[in-house]
């Protein structure tokens, strides 16, 4: 059984936000207008959190890409009253949108604030309608959504492996953000395999997890020198 995980090397990340753009295109994420954004109603499955240090003009900005952590012990699952969010066998925390009643307990419970609520009916400019991804459903108004580690890509990779009559390799499946990263700051793979890149990197001296003391055990591991 695989246990999918991600490693983000902050020393390599240039903060270009290509991962965000790729994610938006891959997962049919709705475009939110400027006024609505001012109310904090934007939707991002991966977001660059800014940490500004120092006083102007001697400031230093650290940018931290933050997808869903796909925790081993997710707080969101415990609070969902309708069982719309759950962790599957491979540890991916998923949402069944048609079950979600939009109570937003999970958005509040998630310590990493990765969950977004659909305040509006999703809309795209006419020119973009043909470019939506057919493999990902469009979330309606009133449901919560978040990063799925591009689970549809895993299904497609399995399909391909089966058609070629072989076992699924970890290399077959990577999320859109990892694929788009121009500075190779993101890695994805099987944490159960002790020799996979993510496993080796996760044991590195620079490795740390966000809010580790909460005991959520995230499957997204960060690498940074002196963070």
């Amino acid at each position: 059984m695989h246990r999918w995980g991600m490693v983000i090397d902050l020393d390599r990340c240039s903060g270009c936000q290509a991962c965000m753009a790729a994610c938006h295109a891959e997962n049919n994420i709705a475009i939110i207008g400027p006024e609505e954004s001012a109310m904090g109603r934007t939707i991002h499955w991966i977001e660059l959190l800014p940490f500004i240090e120092g006083e102007y003009p001697h400031i230093k900005a650290r940018l931290l890409p933050r997808p869903c952590m796909h925790c081993e012990h997710p707080a969101c699952i415990k609070v969902c009253p309708v069982g719309a969010t759950y962790a599957n066998e491979e540890g991916i925390v998923g949402i069944v949108y048609s079950r979600c009643i939009g109570c937003r307990y999970c958005t509040t419970a998630c310590p990493y604030t990765v969950r977004s609520f659909n305040w509006y009916k999703p809309q795209w400019p006419k020119e973009m309608e043909g470019s939506l991804n057919r493999d990902v459903s469009i979330r309606g108004k009133g449901v919560v959504e978040k990063c799925s580690f591009c689970h549809h890509r895993l299904l497609k990779a399995r399909e391909r492996a089966k058609a070629e009559k072989r076992e699924l390799l970890s290399e077959d499946y990577i999320p859109a953000c990892v694929q788009a990263c121009p500075s190779n700051a993101m890695y994805f793979g099987d944490l159960n395999d002790p020799f996979s890149t993510v496993s080796i990197l996760s044991r590195e001296r620079r490795a740390f997890k966000l809010l580790e003391d909460l005991g959520t055990e995230p499957k997204v591991i960060y690498l940074s020198e002196g963070m």
């Binding site: 599957n88 066998e89 069944v96 949108y97 048609s98 459903s137 799925s148 549809h152 299904l155 058609a163």
Partner: protein, 164 residues
């Protein structure tokens, strides 16, 4: 009490009328297609439903495919002329889709037919032997129905397998 009873009677009558009308409503395809006859002539499913081996959808018959054989009159069937009319008009044949999945369900024909090796008739019944186009889906595609089969065949029963 009396007006209430009269109202109730009228209400029930209208309801019954609606149910009766609703159940008798059947969508009619633009051409009365005979699956059996085509099947007997050696036409395979994939000739008209061309995508089910490669794509999630299977595709509706295109008028150009019909025209390959029906360019000139082959039979005496009154509907044959309609094919040529649709061809001249352009824009294809307005087939009515019977099998519709809601937006939150992902279904792939390729995954079921090619990778799992299922036959068309597991979901579409003996469509190859039908002489008239069906007016309703052969199965009610409920989640229970899907999941029962997935359990029986030991296929993936994870929520995310269909609800992506």
């Amino acid at each position: 009490m009396k007006p209430f009873l009269i109202g109730l009677a009228i209400g029930t009558a209208i309801l019954l009328l609606f149910i009766n009308f609703g159940s008798s409503f059947r969508p009619e395809q633009p051409i009365s297609f005979n699956h059996k006859k085509h099947h007997e002539q050696g036409v395979e499913c994939a000739t008209c439903h061309s995508y089910f081996k490669e794509q999630t959808f299977s595709g509706m018959p295109k008028v150009a495919v019909c025209m390959e054989c029906h360019k000139d009159s082959l039979t005496n069937h009154p509907d044959e002329g309609k094919i040529r009319q649709f061809h001249e008009k352009g824009g294809g044949i307005p087939w009515i889709r019977l099998y519709q999945q809601p937006d939150h369900v992902f279904f792939s024909h390729r995954r079921h037919v090619v990778l799992a090796g299922m036959e068309c008739k597991s979901c579409h019944g003996d469509i190859g032997q039908s002489e008239k186009p069906p007016t309703k889906p052969w199965v009610k595609m409920t989640m229970k129905w899907c999941m029962d089969c997935h359990t029986k065949t030991k296929a993936n029963n994870d929520c995310l397998a269909c609800h992506v």
